[in-house]
Amino acid sequence: MLFLLWLFAAAFVSRGIARKLAPGGGAHGYDAAGVCIFVGAIAGGFFAAGTLPFWIAYPAPVVAGIAAAFSARGLNRRRAQERLERHSLFVLRLAAGVAVVVTAGIVFSVAAESFRFFQLVSFWDFLFGLEWSPQIAIREDQAGASGSFGVAPVLLGTLLITGIAMAVAFPVGLFSAVYLSEFASRRARRMIKPVIEMLAGMPTVVYGFFAVVTLSPLLRDLGAALGAEIAGESALAAGLVMAMLLIPFVASLSEDALAAVPDSLRQGALALGATRSEAVFSVVLPAAMPGVFAGALLAFSRALGETMIVVMAAGVAATMSVNPLEAVTTVTVQIVTLLTGDQEFDDPKTLAAFALGLLLFVLTLAMNAIALRVLGKRGRRNE
C-alpha cells in the first residue's frame, strides 16, 4: 500500500518537476512526463538499487518524459493536440503489438532451445523413439551420449489419460448441455448453470489435490475389493479428475452450439409430430454438430496442456502401457519434472523439455486453429 502511495506521490512530484524544467510545455507534455516518470518508478522498483538494469530502467523513461515536455514547448494548442494524437496512436499500436510479440517470443525461444536439443539428439529418434529415460545420469565428458529421448511412450501416456478424460467428459458434457438448453425449466437452468461455471473456475491445483487425497485412495480400495490392482498414480484416477475439469468446458461450448441452431428447425420437427428427444437427436444435434465438434477439439487441446492434475496424480516413469490401471506419464509432467530443480542450458535433459514444449505448442495450436476456424465460419453463416 505504502509502495503505491509512494508511486502516486512520485508521479505528482515529477509532473511538477517537468513544469519547472520546461515552462510553457503544455498540459499534455507535463502529463506525458508524469506518466513516463511513473513508469520509470515502477520499472526501477523491480531491480535492486545500484545494479545495471536499475540504472537503465529507472532514468530512461524519466529522460524521455522530460524530453517530451521540452519538445511540446511553444506549440499552439492545435499543434500540441495533433502531436499528442500521433504519439497516442503510436502507444496504442505498440500495445496491440505486444500480443504478437508474445507469440513470436514463444515460438522463437522454444524453437531456439529445441533446435539446440536436436543438435544433440536426432529429430527422428525423438519423434519415433520408443524409450524415454532422460534422468539417466550423464557423465560430464559425454554430454548427450546417454539417456534416451524417444517421445512415443510419453505421448502414449498423454493420449491414454486425455482419452479417458474425453471418453467421460464428452458424453456427460454434451448431454448436460442438451438438458440445459432443451429440457430444463428456467429455474433449473438458473440453478445448474452457475454450478457448472464454478466447476470451470476451480484452480486446477484443487483438482490435483482431490485426485491425490480422495479419488486415488478410493479407486485403490475399490480395486482391492474387486481383486484388481490399481496403482496409486493410475491413469484412471488422473483421467477421471481431468474429466471433471472438462465437463463444464464441453457443456458450455456445446450449449453455445445448440443455442445457435435456429429455433425454426426445432419447431418444425415438433410440428411434424416428433417428440422432444426425437427432435434433438434427428434435427438439432446434427445441425449443431460442427460447433460441438469444435468444442470437443478445444476441450481435447485443453486436456493435452493441462498440467497440475497430472503432475500431482499421474506418474513420472514413462512406460509403453495402455492399461488405465497403471501409472503413465504425460508431456506436461515431463516438462515440469525436467525444468524444476537445477537446470543447465547445455544439458540435453533440460533442452528436451523445450522440445516437448514445442511439440505441445504445435499440437494444441493446430487443434485450436481448426476449432476456432470452424466456430468462426459458423458464426458468419448464422449472422
Partner: protein, 409 residues
Amino acid sequence: MNEAGIRKRRARERRFLFLSAGCAAIAIFALAGLLASVALQGWRGFFSASLRVVLHLDAEVVGEKGEGDALAYRRLIKRAIAERFADAPRGDKRKLIGLFSFSSAVQLRDIARANPERIHGRVTVWLPASAKAEAFLKGGDDDGNGNAWRLMPYLEKMRDDGDARVEWNSALFTNADSRDPESAGLAGALAGTALTLLLAFLLSFPAGVLAALYLEFFARRGRLFSLVEVNINNLAAVPSVIFGVLGLAVFINWFGMPRGSPLVGGLVLSLMTLPTIIIASRAALQAQPAAQAEAAMSLGATKMQAVFHHTLPSAMPGVLTGAILGMAQALGETAPLLIIGMVAFVAEAPSGFADAATALPVQIFLWADSPEAGFAERTASAILVLLFFLVLMNAAAVLLRQRLETARG
C-alpha cells in the same frame, strides 16, 4: 395409429430426459464431492492445539538474560513435562517432549527474552502441540496416520485437566512456510501472490485495454488485422505451462532475472492474462453505442478524444469485469510458476519483487506433496483460503456487471 409404437416412443423420451438430467446431475455431484472433500479436511487446519505447562526458567540452562539457544529451551520443556508426569515409566518420560512442536522451544525463548525478569522463576505457558498431538486433540483417535500412539494416555490426561486447548490457528496467516506442519503458515505465499498479481495487473491491464482500443477503433481492417485477431484468440488457448517455458527461456535464461521471483512470475502471468483482457475489453467496447462517439465527434472532438473521453469511460465496468476475471484466473494458475522456479522452500515472506517467493496455489502444491500428516489438512485449509479470494473476485465481477446492467437499464 398404433398404440404400442407411441408408448415405445414416450418411454424413449422419458429415458432420454432421465439420461440428460442425470448427466447434469453428475456435474453437480462432481462439484459437491470436490468441495466436500476439501471442506471436510480444511476446517481442521484453521485450528491449532496448544498445551499448558508449568516450567522453571532455569538460568543455569538458558543463561541470565535468556541468551541460550532453542535446544536449551527444549531441555526446559522436556524437564517440565517429565516433572508433570513424574510417575510415568522412564522410557515414556523421555518421549513426552514429542507432545510439543519443534517451534515451542523457539516460542518459549521469545517469551523469556521479552520478559527477562521472569528468568529464575516459574512460569505457566501455552505452547504449540506437535502435529500428532494436534490430530488427536482435534478429535481423531490416532496420530493422523492411522497408528495408535504411545503418548496418547498422557495427552488424554492433559485434556481432562484442562491443560490442552484447540483454538483459532492465527499462525496460518502470520507465519511463512515451515517444515513443521503445526507452525507452517501462508503469510509468505500470500505476500508472493499479492506481489505477482499486482505486477501482472499493472502490466497487462493498460496494455490489454490500449490494444483493445486500437483494434476496435483505429486499426485498418485487413490481412494484418485478422492475423493479429487470430493470433490473440489462439494465444488465449495456449497451455499455461508453455508460458512458463517461455518465461524460463526468455526472462531467466536470456535476461538473467532472478529465478523464482515475483518479478518473473508477474511478467509471465501478465502475458497469460493479456489475451483474456483484450478479448473482454473488446467485447465491452463493442457493446457501447456508436452514436455516443459520433455525437462527440460531431461537436468537434477528434476520434482519439471521443474514444478516450466518452466510449472508454462508459465501457469501464465491462472492461474491469473482464480484468477481474482474468486476474482470478491468474490467481489460481500454478504450472507456469512451477516452471519459473517459484517452488523453492521459502521460509520468509518476500520483501520485494526480486526476492525468491512462492504463490498461494504453488504453496498448496508443495504442501500436498509433503508426507507429514499435519500437512494434508493445512493444504485443504490453504485451498479454502484460495477459494475465498476467488469467490471474492468473482463476486466483485458480478456486482460490477449488475451495476452496469442497471445503469443501462
